[in-house]
């Protein structure tokens, strides 16, 4: 076990709690190809956990296992102290696990506000008829949901594009709207698939700040995949390193940075 498990407080004063999610001996195959080979790791409540590795290491596959888009052939997924049976992605979302996508999956035809409102779907309980005629409980619920969404819009500084159809936004803003939609679900675990991919330095800095602030202000547990080593080291509390579907490192950024296997995987060594 490494030094950070259990109830601790980080240097910057955030609380890290017990185990929120645990992956046990996960193996995922596509036909004859093993995308993930017998990987185990855990995610602690309140931490920022990164999964890194070179192209094709199986990072996205791992995120897809957590979010239910793939079900592994071998291994167990434990969430909040319970073993999770094989689930559909929408069922996983209802458990309180929200995610973003590497290639951005937004509702292009809808406005920014409507997109973020879809993040509240898992929290809406009133009946269809009540909502259609907009009375009583349904109205109160809609107002409460709107308040939460407006708070997130403020937080991510996208007030000026609230009414704009998402299809018309530039790439960097789309990424931010996608984060907003995931946050609107008030997730217990937030999964970010390459949140900084394709961004320039300035946009990367903004996004890093939003991720850290999310973790800091809402105490959201975050698991993220990233390509860029530098960014990850600054952001995360602990890092899992994958290469060719195997786990080759797990620990604090400093521990991982000095791990010979990790260095080899990133710099490339001749395999004999």
């Amino acid at each position: 076990m490494n030094a950070m498990s259990g109830n601790t407080t980080t240097a910057d004063g955030r609380k890290i709690g017990g185990v929120l999610m645990e992956m046990r001996n996960i193996t995922l195959r596509f036909g004859g190809v093993e995308a993930i080979k017998d990987i185990s790791f855990d995610i602690l409540e309140g931490e920022v956990r990164a999964i890194i590795g070179p192209n094709g290491a199986g990072k996205s596959s791992m995120l897809n296992v957590i979010s239910g888009f793939y079900n592994p052939q071998v291994g167990e997924v434990w969430f909040r102290g319970e073993k999770r049976p094989p689930m559909k992605p929408y069922e996983v979302a209802r458990l309180g696990i929200a995610r973003t996508f590497q290639n951005i999956a937004l509702f292009d035809g809808m406005s920014v506000l409507d997109n973020i409102m879809t993040g509240r779907l898992t929290h809406m309980t009133t009946g269809m008829l009540a909502q259609a005629i907009w009375k009583g409980k349904a109205e109160r619920e809609e107002v409460a949901n709107r308040e939460i969404v407006e708070k997130i819009i403020d937080f991510l500084e996208i007030q000026h594009i609230r009414k704009v159809p998402v299809g018309r936004l530039p790439y960097g803003l789309k990424k931010r709207v996608e984060l907003a939609r995931a946050l609107a679900a008030e997730p217990k675990l937030l999964l970010l698939d390459e949140p900084m991919a394709g961004m320039n330095v300035e946009e990367k800095e903004d996004m890093s700040r939003y991720i850290l602030d999310t973790n800091d202000e809402f105490g959201t547990t975050i698991a993220l995949i990233e390509h860029d080593m530098g960014v990850v080291m600054d952001l995360s509390d602990r890092v899992v390193v994958m290469d060719y579907g195997k786990k080759i490192g797990d620990g604090t950024p400093d521990e991982v940075r000095n791990n010979q296997e990790v260095i080899d995987a990133y710099l490339g060594v001749a395999h004999d």
Binding site: S67, F69, K88, P89, Y90, E91, A93, R94, A98, R99, F101, A105, L106, F107, D108, G109, M110, D114, M117, T118, G119, L121, T122, M124, T126, M128, Q131, A132, I133, W134, R181, A182, A185
Partner: protein
């Protein structure tokens, strides 16, 4: 006012009313196409099947009577009771929801991620299957559908226009009822899609499947819901057409008239389906009245298709459809 102009006005009004019925059928297509990208060829047959079932239940017909009689050598045709129209409509709707569920469970779920053309072929198969089932269940004779809607000349309009212009317009009561029902239906659909959780989910699924899954929407549930709504729209269309011209198997051909309506309005737009239907309705009646008489008539058979062809050349996305931009 010159007679010719008065006639043209009357024709236009009648065209609008006929257009409402085209719109109703087109609406069913648009709903399913938006939510799942499937062009549901079976929409027209669904209207037919709904109308057949409605008549069958109201008349107390024994379903599959022909089959039962030939297998067991019995001679039963009717239960001997009559079901009130409203109860029969509810029962028919239940059957349409069951049908929506079955289509998803046994056909579409196995074709997820297939090419659109394959899904289209599947709905063609579905159309003929459903037509066959309808025939087997209720028989192939022409039936009259009478759910108690008013029919015949509207005397108020006749009198008012006679007093105003000296010429009484002939407007069928049934057409007026159809228009009112269509307006209510569309208003309901708009409310549903804009303000309910399910409506939002439906729009989300129409836009992006992956993103919809990630916010906790079950695709299967939404698809069953969409097909059920399309089934409801088919039922309404079936009642209207059935009341107007009897329930017969040519009813399924109205689906073909919906095609030019969709080309005009765009495949993804609910207002488009409405406006497209009205334009085709008015267009074909006026064309027949003004030009058809000089070139031998029967222009109503082809006018809609030629108009749609012109639209395809100059505005392929239709009046309200999303513009197709392919980035290179």
């Amino acid at each position: 006012m010159p007679d010719q102009l008065l006639f043209a006005m009357e024709v236009t009004l009648n065209g609008l009313m006929a257009g409402v019925l085209y719109s109703l059928v087109a609406l069913g297509f648009v709903l399913i196409f938006k939510a799942s990208g499937i062009f549901n060829y079976a929409q027209g047959v669904m209207a037919l099947f709904a109308a057949l079932t409605l008549v069958g239940i109201m008349e107390g017909q024994v379903p599959f009577a022909h089959l039962i009689n030939s297998v067991f050598g019995t001679d039963i045709h009717h239960f001997g009771w009559h079901v009130p129209a409203l109860a029969a409509i509810v029962l028919t709707m239940v059957l349409m929801i069951a049908f929506a569920w079955a289509v998803n469970r046994f056909v579409l779920r196995h074709l997820v991620n297939q090419e659109p053309i394959i899904l289209f072929m599947a709905t063609i198969g579905l159309a003929y299957f459903l037509e066959g089932v309808g025939d087997l269940m209720w028989g192939s004779d022409i039936k009259t559908l009478n759910v108690g809607l008013p029919q015949g000349l509207n005397e108020t309009i006749d009198r008012v226009t006679y007093e105003a212009f000296g010429y009484g317009f002939f407007i069928d009561n049934l057409d007026i009822v159809a228009t009112v029902i269509a307006v209510v239906l569309v208003a309901g659909l708009v409310l549903f899609s804009q303000y309910t959780k399910q409506g939002r989910a439906l729009r989300a699924v129409a836009d992006d499947h992956q993103a919809a899954l990630s916010v906790g929407i079950s695709l299967n549930y939404i698809w069953v819901l969409t097909w059920s709504i399309a089934g409801f729209v088919a039922l309404v269309a079936g009642i209207m057409w059935g009341a107007k011209s009897g329930v017969q198997f040519s009813l399924s051909l109205i689906a073909l008239k919906a095609l030019p309506v969709l080309m005009l309005g765009g495949f993804t737009s609910i207002p488009g389906a409405i406006v497209g239907g009205l334009i085709i309705g008015v267009g074909e009646k006026l064309f027949e009245f003004l030009i058809g008489v000089h070139i031998g008539g029967a222009t109503e058979n082809w006018f809609a298709y030629v108009l749609a062809l012109l639209f395809l050349v100059f505005r392929p996305q239709g009046l309200f459809g999303e513009k197709i931009i392919e980035r290179v």
